[in-house]
Amino acid sequence: MRSMLVSLLLVSPILAQLSEDNFSAWRDPLRPAAKEIRWQRIPWLSSFAAGLRRANAEDKPVLVWVMNGHPLGCT
């Protein structure tokens, strides 16, 4: 394990970056900021069928957003 880590550290400075001391400093900017996930303020249902059912019950049109990969997950 030690030799493996040493060899990786020699490859790239990024692999030497992370430590207990700077864990939070890296964690926070990796997480999406509120402005980056404003689209989550919209109460998306996660399946087309669920949308049709609710639209029928609430007498509203269905807005359908579809992508390769689930839009609420990894696209």
Partner: protein
Amino acid sequence: MGRRSVWSKEKLIELTKKFVPVADEVYRLQRDAGPECRVFRKIFRGTEEPSRGTMQGIYVCTAGGARLAGRNSLNADLVAKMLEGALEKWDQLSTEERSLPVGTSIEVGPRWEDSYPSAGLVLVRTARDLPKKLDPAAAAVMPFNPDQVWFAKKEARGFLPDQLTPGQKGPVSRLIVERLTRFHLVDNVHGQTIPYAPSEVTSSKITSEVTGQDGDLVEVQLSGTTKASSDKWLLGGNYWKPQRDWPHGVATKLLGRAVYDRKRGVFTKFEMVALGERWGRTQLNGRAMYTAAEPIGFEFSLAAKGARIAPTFINMYGVDWVKDPYKQ
């Protein structure tokens, strides 16, 4: 993330309140034989026949099956105009025209989401490009992409040493290390990529150490390295099989902190960061011009309850608790 940015505009957020907003994965809807997939194609394509071309986009319809609008755009003004036009059409429809015919129901076929591990560990993973200067403060503006990570309850226990007393240390289970490295520490920041084969996971080891205890709550620290590197496709014929080989890889150093409630057998806190580098490209991951090694970061934390979105590579997990909807 730019693909989602259209929904960040205040005007659009307000407009969506007049609709039932739905987000769904299009490949299944455009190709599969399930009832809601056929309804989707009937409404938006005019035929129940599967579509070979992508149907990605934004559409509006009635529950009764009338198409009101549709386009594929990231331009918020154009999308707003489309939604307003759809509302005008909606207002002209009778109740009968808007609604499902009496006695009709919308059936849902089996989905990967049906295997959601309610009692297990569900994480959100964020993958993000990192600046070459390796400045954390500059990382926040870099592109990112989320994914879900699922572990059954019995699998999640593998994040912990056998003995849950302070000072105890042990390796995180091979299943967990492989799942993370093959499916989640992958370069899909800019678009979908392909999974790694087990044999492409090398130099990967994560250690867990109990660092504290407060009643039934056990604090653990995670540390390790991961590496996956692929020269050729080794996973046979499946949904992800690329048209050619794509040399690519990811290596990371990883640290994490978690709190495990041993009485309930659940994690009450989980945060893990992996920093490393990616190299090469795959067909759709947007790296055509950037195949040299560059920094990449990953962050994992507990998902919100009820966020039942299946992990991208759920069909490759290969465990008995994940039920393949295509074999039911």
